[in-house]
């Protein structure tokens, strides 16, 4: 593919939609991901994407809009995982593990007894750049505005709740409200992103940019900002690689995020060696 071919492709409406929605979803996932990674709840993105897969399978089987079936189901699942994880008898990772296994099994059963594993199912599992509709782009814009405003207005509260739930509660902060807000927003981000990234790969947008940023900066504020810059940049790189190499978008975005994570480790290694 020549450079002029590439420029022609990126002017196609479906690529523009993917670029806009992908950058915004990456931004949302990375900002939420900083909190989830620091709270050791990062795998909730993976669990919710499995629930999303089950919801999409049900929507396909019933000829319903995948987005409107997945949104309430995944948000409800995120609340369920949070509630179960809050009990002293079950850890959060156990709740996520059970929910993701059960949802994946349900999705596979529904798929196999209805349409079988056709192209739609393949696209949902591994993502497709063709998937984004104008409606999803509009929802991505609204969600990203909401999340950025939330982080700006409530930054200090989010910082405190992430640092120590007990310290926050002792100051009268309604920790549960913040947890459920983060949980619901993560669910919406996963639902919007999974059609492009794939249900099996969307959780990487939650985890990887936060880990990359953590290798580069030391404060919570810098971490949020760095993740919010790194993630859309990696998405653009991944989308370009996907178009150039004709590989699924989700996989190429994950590969670019992985490369960024390794590259971000190099300054730390150099610093360690020069200090010896």
């Amino acid at each position: 593919m020549t450079w002029s071919d590439f420029l022609e492709i990126v002017s196609y409406p479906f690529v523009v939609r993917a670029l806009v929605a992908g950058c915004l979803i990456s931004l949302c996932a990375s900002m939420l991901g900083v909190i989830l990674v620091l709270k050791r709840y990062a795998l909730i993105g993976h669990g919710l994407s499995e629930v999303g897969f089950a919801a999409l399978a049900v929507a396909l089987a019933l000829d319903l809009s995948p987005l409107y079936v997945a949104m309430p189901l995944v948000v409800a699942a995120s609340f369920g995982i949070m509630l179960i994880g809050r009990s002293k008898r079950v850890n959060g990772d156990v709740a996520i593990g059970v929910a993701s296994s059960a949802a994946l099994a349900a999705g596979v059963i529904v798929t196999s007894v209805t349409r079988g594993a056709n192209t739609d199912v393949w696209n949902y599992m591994f993502g497709s750049v063709l998937a984004m509709t104008n409606e999803e782009v509009a929802l991505s814009v609204a969600l990203s505005i909401f999340i950025v405003v939330l982080f700006v207005l409530f930054y200090n509260r989010l910082f405190l709740v992430t640092y120590s739930e007990d310290c926050a509660r002792s100051l009268g902060v309604n920790v549960e409200a913040y947890q459920f807000a983060i949980s619901a927003l993560t669910a919406l981000t996963v639902v919007l992103g999974m059609r492009m990234m794939g249900t099996l790969l969307i959780s990487s947008l939650v985890i990887m940019p936060a880990l990359t940023a953590r290798r580069l900066v030391g404060s919570f504020r810098a971490l949020v900002v760095a993740a919010a810059v790194i993630s859309p940049a990696c998405f653009c790189g991944g989308l370009a690689a996907s178009l150039f190499l004709n590989i699924p978008t989700g996989a190429s975005v994950v590969a670019v995020n992985l490369a960024a994570m390794f590259l971000a480790g190099i300054p730390a290694i150099i610093l360690r060696n020069t200090q010896r």
Binding site: K88, F159, Y163, G172, G218, F220, L223
Partner: protein, 241 residues
Amino acid sequence: MSAPLLSLKDVTIAYDSVVAVEDVSFNVEKGDFFCVVGANGSGKSTLIRGILGLEPLLRGTVSFGVDRDRVSWVPQVEAADRDFPATVREIVLTGTQKRGGLVFFYTAADRRNADAAMEFFEIEDLAGRRIGELSGGQHRRMMLARAMCRDPDLLLLDEPCSGLDADAKRAFYDWLNRLHDERGATIVMVSHDLDEVELRATRIAVLDRRLVFLGDAGEWTRGKNGKNARGSLEFSGGPAS
């Protein structure tokens, strides 16, 4: 006589079906240096958590005679992640956050209070340092500064000296005394450090799930009703945390 700053009446706290604290009642008056001591598993830390609303009460009531925004807490070290990506100033500033409100920004007064608190505990030079780089003593002072930002009328401390060496411990108690004597803060401290408790406490509660002793420091060391409360505590296996 003014109303107590903190009043506990028949406080009972249970984890599932296991009762950790049972029917504990006491008042903390303004100016008290009130220490709660007891053996491992006696319910000391649970009681502090119950007072703060971090654990639900099965029975009883906790009432404050001060504005809740003037109550501060210094948690055990484990209550917060020391690897958290934050600077000393960021953590100290969290102490200024008030209850309620939909939008929260730090005001110039909040920043001045945080700076004054860091200056009081002589950690102003560490303001920009990451919390993971602090020594145990510096971390404790940071948490005290965080608590002091609210200019507390009532300060609750949970095993504040665990993990500190002798020098750091002595310095910590000097800061605490200054807070009590110079700033007039009323202090409720859970501790297993009997020597320091004996030296500094004005009133002492000994907990063994239930309240087994409540009185002033003199009674505690002299013995009450012919029974030396401290001696019985040490004899019962020691109050190590």
